[in-house]
Symmetry: C2
Subunit: 253 residues, 2 copies
Amino acid sequence: TFTVGIDSGSTTTKGILLEGETIVRRFLCPTSFRPATSIVDAWETLRAGLDEKPFLTLTGYGRQLVDFADKQVTEISCHGLGARLLLAQTRTVIDIGGQDSKVIALDEQGNLTDFLMNDKCAAGTGRFLDVISRTLGTQVEHLDAITEGVEPHPLTSMCTVFAESEVISLRSAGIAPEAILAGVINAMARRSAHFISRLSTQGPLLFTGGVSHCATFRRMLAGHLASDVFTHDDAQYAGALGAALIGQRQRKR
Amino acid sequence: TFTVGIDSGSTTTKGILLEGETIVRRFLCPTSFRPATSIVDAWETLRAGLDEKPFLTLTGYGRQLVDFADKQVTEISCHGLGARLLLAQTRTVIDIGGQDSKVIALDEQGNLTDFLMNDKCAAGTGRFLDVISRTLGTQVEHLDAITEGVEPHPLTSMCTVFAESEVISLRSAGIAPEAILAGVINAMARRSAHFISRLSTQGPLLFTGGVSHCATFRRMLAGHLASDVFTHDDAQYAGALGAALIGQRQRKR
Ligand code: SF4
């Protein structure tokens, strides 16, 4: 039996087609200013050619923007479920997306015990890396290649706006852009470690969301936490995966 | 006897030449990336042509960048003193500058009883108005003319970075720029009122710093506080004025 989960995030729309607990199709597109259209795109792409209409579960910011879903579930529940499918023993999820970040604590059975969410301040989210990368004339996708093996230059400001000015003045003081970028990633990783430490959490910790693709960030986060940070190729789909799983479980009953 | 006070802020450098308690000269320039040079400029301009070297007190972020001052004092003490010279009964000072904001509580005699400072988040500072004004193709100086009598459009985001995106999407949804700008000022005034309410304060309240020049902001702040908000033509000089006053008092002893 097929089920679809769509995670309508403010930056990226993610979708998963599941058969049992196996991922059959993935969908990912920028949400930009058309979240409803992105959900429709995801839905049409994921169900294309299937004989029966799959059970559809929606999650994420935009989940209430369309009316054709079978179910709507909060991100926190979906992320926890999806994380456990990616790494069965996961006890803590740190999800850093384009415009929010969350930390989720799970018990041994995978039940949610606590969580924290930030969607008010750009500094703890992918947007921070995005803004600073652009200021230095590059893109988030290139951060790993640029910062590999580079000693980070210390950054004082944590506010995205103030950090942007600081980065410009560091550049005009002749500091190399790669050292600045490594410093920016390090400052944000330190902040994320602090965010995680506000919950009482246990390992294993799974890192999900768009920022989890950045290997330099993962390495620095692990350093600040003094613990392992796991991730998965499908880590950005954790929410959509959890949403699709909810459909599978509902069908079983 | 002449004394000079210079307030080296991160956005603007302000200076005052006092004779007794009378302002004889004012100096104001953008600090940009040369705070020490701005202090030297202020000092040379304010003392020019005087027979004796006036007593010099420095305050503000950059106060330790030069070594020719007679005294260095924290902003908080100087602002309190300066505010009382501008409005003798002042019990609360709200100072909103280019990159920080502070609220200062004074007792009946003008002694500092409590204060709060924000220099970590651009959202509560002049930078917020600056960024959004530029996004809409205008400048802070024009905000009063643009927003006079305009009904504010509600703004959801308080983070400068997220507000910038929201403003762009409101524009593309056809909302008039003047309504957006009025909404932006209103959102920030609400936030400032909340910031002030975190201290237990009493009136009269004097509004100082660069943002105090914005009449729309003052009016909206008064609305959110449900109390009078006083200001003064020299409100941006409160810190420098307080610094110059410290010199006068020291000389008297
Ligand atoms: S303005 Fe800066 S510190 Fe404030 S909420 Fe936005 S990113 Fe965070």
